[in-house]
């Protein structure tokens, strides 16, 4: 399948607050921008893959979005993988295009946890409310604590992830939080759920984002300006809740990456820029390990010593990620990777020919990986 499907268009709303606006409206705006970017007429779209808003589940939500944008897709709907769903659905869309089930697919996301329901942030994590076990941050803190104790990962190493994201976000005019972070500032910030501090935790953001997928042949025929080839994708599911997971410090992101690398015929050494899901700072550290960029347990040392800035071996989260650009669950990372491959990123990595993107959902329950290449 290598290079047979391309990302033809990208689009998104502004990031931050969209007071009083429905998620369906944000989908419509994101899709409008993505179609304009691809130069594709709406009526050519025959696949519509929708990530439902995490803040408030809505039954038949894919149909509400289809209705709002006036589409009757041949294939579509909602697939629940939490934060892994955007790349997950891009994978399903690519498979559907390959299998002749649709020709032009839109994958779209929108949510409004900042001005709408905050239920997704503070909800209970299972049946253990009586112990005070609430909130996604605590689940990631539980993993971070074990990683720190088992592998010697330090708070300052977690901080290095946040500092990199905030430096890149500060250079990104679209970013929601453009305030750089120092190590001193990181250390002094309040603890949320120890060992995680304020700046270890992702932003809370409203917004929508969408991408348009089609075959490379179709993109050539339509004259799409800069079609970015999908070289590989993969998924994996750790599934166990944090308290039941036999090993807290490795995940099935490893399988997700292996599948994507095998499909692309590439390995970690071939990747020029990474957009890693960074809802909490421990996640990119473990992603570096699970993806095989560094040996197990060395992710923290790598981000602090080698560094992940624009001039380093593997520039990471070049638009600020979930910690600085927008807390949206993953589509902004895909969009930034597309811009890096087009050569149009705010913080462009020179001569970047391949990009890898990770998405993950729940508390490292679900994983998905995307590898992009150069426009033909």
């Amino acid at each position: 399948m290598r290079e047979s499907v391309v990302v033809a268009g990208i689009g998104h709303t502004t990031f931050g607050a969209h007071e009083g606006r429905s998620t369906v409206s944000m989908h419509a705006e994101a899709i409008r921008h993505a179609l304009a970017d691809a130069g594709v007429e709406k009526d050519a779209v025959d696949g519509l893959f929708v990530k439902f808003p995490t803040s408030a589940f809505e039954f038949m939500y894919g149909q509400k979005v289809a209705e709002a944008v006036g589409l009757q897709p041949r294939i579509g709907g909602v697939w629940d993988q939490g934060g892994a769903a955007n790349i997950g659905m891009m994978s399903f869309a690519a498979l559907a295009i390959e299998a002749g089930q649709c020709e032009i697919a839109v994958v779209t996301f929108a949510d409004n946890p900042k001005t709408g329901s905050r239920g997704a942030i503070a909800k209970s994590i299972g049946a253990d409310d009586v112990f005070g076990w609430f909130g996604a941050a605590a689940g990631y803190a539980m993993i971070a604590r074990r990683h720190m104790a088992q592998w010697g990962t330090t708070a300052d190493q977690l901080g290095a992830v946040a500092i990199n994201a905030r430096a890149n976000g500060a250079a990104n005019p679209r970013a929601q939080l453009r305030k750089p972070l120092t190590l001193e500032g990181y250390r002094e910030a309040r603890s949320v759920v120890a060992p995680l501090r304020r700046d270890d935790c992702c932003l809370v953001s409203d917004g929508g984002a969408a991408v348009v997928l089609m075959s490379a042949a179709r993109a050539r025929a339509l004259g799409v300006p800069a079609p970015v080839p999908i070289l590989g994708f993969g998924q994996g599911q750790t599934s166990w809740n944090v308290e039941l997971r036999p090993d807290l410090t490795s995940t099935c992101a490893a399988e997700s990456a292996q599948t994507a690398f095998a499909m692309a015929g590439l390995g970690p050494d071939d990747i020029d820029v990474a957009q890693f899901y960074d809802c909490f700072t421990i996640v990119p550290i473990m992603t570096l390990e699970d993806y095989g960029f560094v040996p197990r347990g060395q992710g923290g040392a790598y981000v602090a010593s080698e560094g992940t800035g624009l001039d380093r071996r593997l520039p990471m989260n070049t638009s600020g990620g979930l910690l600085s650009e927008t807390g949206m669950p993953g589509m902004q990372l895909v969009i930034e990777a597309v811009r890096q491959m087009r050569g149009t990123a705010e913080l462009q990595v020179k001569n970047a020919r391949t990009a890898i993107v990770s998405n993950q959902g729940g508390i490292m329950h679900t994983h998905s990986t995307l590898i992009l290449g150069q426009p033909a």
Binding site: D128, V130, G132, F134, A137, A141, A149, E243, L244, L248
Partner: protein
């Protein structure tokens, strides 16, 4: 120490499957399920063995020996009933028999001084009138 019977603490939802679990705690025993087909031991209560899917299983009483897998310390209340307990800890605990569960570590002054893999001992305590399994450090049982 965590105060007993604080108003508003959400209590466990009991159903036909989990009722024996809570009733046993009320009786001073912590129980888990063991598969009659493959011998796997698990919590929380479920109708089928997650390893072999068999529906034949029985309750077994835990020794009470356990170890600390990881823990967090809340400095922010995500539920109003816990606001006056900050900072408080929540832990992942592994029973000597294998099953893991969410719990709290009691009887400690400084949760940041805990260590992963610390030996623990069951301490059944009451929360809103319901007996729940908490743990205390048990340095002698390693």
């Amino acid at each position: 120490m965590i105060a007993e019977n604080t108003a508003g603490v959400p209590l466990p939802v009991r159903d036909a499957l989990s009722e024996p679990y809570w009733a046993a705690l009320d009786d001073g025993r912590h129980i888990f399920q063991r598969c009659g087909a493959c011998g796997h031991a698990w919590l929380p209560p479920r109708a089928e063995c997650p390893v072999c899917l068999a529906a034949e299983w029985s309750w077994e009483t835990a020794s009470g020996d356990a170890r600390l897998i990881s823990w967090v310390v809340y400095h922010t209340a995500f539920h109003p009933a816990f606001a006056d307990r900050l900072p408080y800890n929540v832990a992942v605990v592994e029973l000597r028999e294998g099953p893991r569960l969410i719990s709290n570590i009691s009887g400690i002054d400084d949760p940041e001084a805990l260590q992963i893999d610390l030996p623990l001992r069951l301490s059944i305590e009451r929360e809103g009138g319901v007996a729940i399994p908490r743990y205390v450090p048990a340095p002698e049982n390693g």
